[in-house]
Subunit: 313 residues, 2 copies
């Protein structure tokens, strides 16, 4: 269930030529405010604006030549759809992206701009899955899951690998947790390349399936609730959860107003744009300041794709 070190090393080599080695930024003010020494890994500066590019580029490269020719398909309405389209374009592979009617036209246009072949369906999950299945059958395309896929997980782990190459002795790395791909990949990276680096997930209280799963030992569902961190409205899966269960120290739950406050602090003080999902990891740190005091903490700022016409402040 836990891939060995060499799988990560190989993913690192596969991913590197196609992604930005993103900046690691620090902030004197936020160090003072938190009492910890913070290192922000800026995946908001990544190609297409989010870490998801890493998993997509790794997964596509692992397909056979016949599969690459047939293409890849996903039904993510968020960053993974854009990431898959751009990654596929970089590798000259067709990408079919199923998107719900409810998706903002700017996102549909972004996917098309990256060369993705868009299919619009009804907004419910069933319709989206059905449309994706149809493409799999008709085109022979490979369905890629945004987070519950080992090659995607390994790809996402390369952000933390880069971070640990630059800052070797981190005590903690914090990431947001939604579907669990980034958290699982980060946990693997810390396990093999950290020096006793613990990994903690930040999760919206309103969608706390990962928190409950870590307590119960089994995958949990999000029944109700909503969150501004719209990239995190998903569940852990059977491939990433065993990694998370084994290698992640804890999940810290963050309330909506804390997410917005953390986001605003980073915008105002670091002058960079992060999406609400990214702010959840920093919000988790602020929520449990005492725990991180005087520690060196890496925070993965997962992305920067926000709708500037619809900000929470």
């Amino acid at each position: 269930m836990i891939p060995s070190r060499k799988f990560l090393e190989e993913a690192g080599k596969r991913v590197a030529p196609f992604v930005h080695k993103t900046l690691v930024l620090t902030s004197y003010f936020l160090n003072e405010k938190s009492g910890a020494q913070l290192f922000f890994k800026c995946e908001n500066f990544q190609k297409m604006g989010a870490f998801k590019m890493r998993g997509a580029i790794n997964a596509i490269q692992q397909l056979s030549d016949a599969q690459k020719k047939a293409g890849v398909v996903t039904h993510s309405s968020g960053n993974f759809g854009q990431a898959l389209a751009l990654a596929a374009k970089s590798l000259a592979v067709p990408a079919y992206i199923v998107m719900p009617q409810s998706a903002p036209s700017v996102k549909v246009e972004a996917v098309r701009g990256y060369g993705g072949l868009v299919t619009i369906t009804a907004s419910n999950l069933e319709a989206r899955e059905k449309a994706a299945d149809k493409i799999v059958q008709e085109k022979g395309a490979v369905l890629l899951h945004p987070s519950n896929d080992m090659e995607v997980i390994l790809g996402q782990g390369t952000a933390a690998m880069e971070l640990l190459e630059e800052i070797e002795d981190l005590d903690y790395i914090l990431t947001p947790v939604g579907g669990g791909g980034l958290l699982a990949g980060t946990a693997l990276a810390a396990h093999y390349f950290g020096k006793n680096t613990r990994v903690i997930g930040g999760e919206p209280l309103a969608m706390d399936d990962a928190y409950r799963a870590l307590k119960s030992g089994k995958i949990e569902a999000n029944e109700f609730g909503d969150t501004i961190a719209d990239g995190l409205k998903t569940n852990l899966g059977d491939i990433n959860f065993p990694i998370i269960k084994t290698l992640v120290t804890d999940i810290i739950r963050v309330e909506e107003d804390e997410i917005i406050a953390a986001m605003r602090l980073i915008w105002e003080r670091m002058k960079i744009i992060i999406e609400p999902s990214s702010a959840v990891a920093f919000g988790a740190l602020l929520k449990e300041k005492e725990r991180f005091k005087n520690n060196k903490v890496g925070i993965i700022l997962s992305g920067g794709n926000v709708d500037l016409s619809n900000l929470p402040f």
Copy 2:
């Protein structure tokens, strides 16, 4: 009227220990869009969020010990007030900042947070000047002008010096122009450290005194008009204008909607926060794309202090 190379070199040495050597960022998308190769000097990441820190720290160091003991005073309601407060604090010098009643409380608090001694007056210029004069007389403090002061100009020039150290063969450097301190300092830096690097100012059409001054050969006033680029609502002065007249190639005027569009492009594509004044230089480039085509162009992003509750989009 034009200081020699050694004055800039010395300013560079004086300023360096007290400021961030800010990042130079690039954007594949914006290169494609503009047809030029762009290098953004990110003074929005500078201490207190703007280049003004550079001029303030240089000017204070040039005072005598007695002057330093008495302190410095300015009546800027914008970034220079904050810059002077923080620079003075770094050098253990008292800073008296005269601010109008109309200044947002967040700005007043920022100045106080940097240790500035704030005097609130009526919002008109006369009241502010009177209050500043009173402090000069009572405390013996030295009045520093935000842009029409040779030591301030030399300090502002250090941003372009750093940029040219990193990217040696820039064809152009663009800066916004308001009071003229940054533009004059940049022109000096390009003159001594560039390789035929031309300097162009971007100016709001509604406040185009620098454009008119370059045509008429004398300092011009802004009679009417308003601009979202609130840092640029000021006039050239008798110390910076001779430098600008001699060393600046041109001023490009930018309309309000072009400023906002340029700002939005940088936020959305580079995921960094810049203030409207900073967007004017990039807006000038977009306005006259043909002129810059296939050239290497440095753009000084002057600052990132915006009110997130009051955005133009």
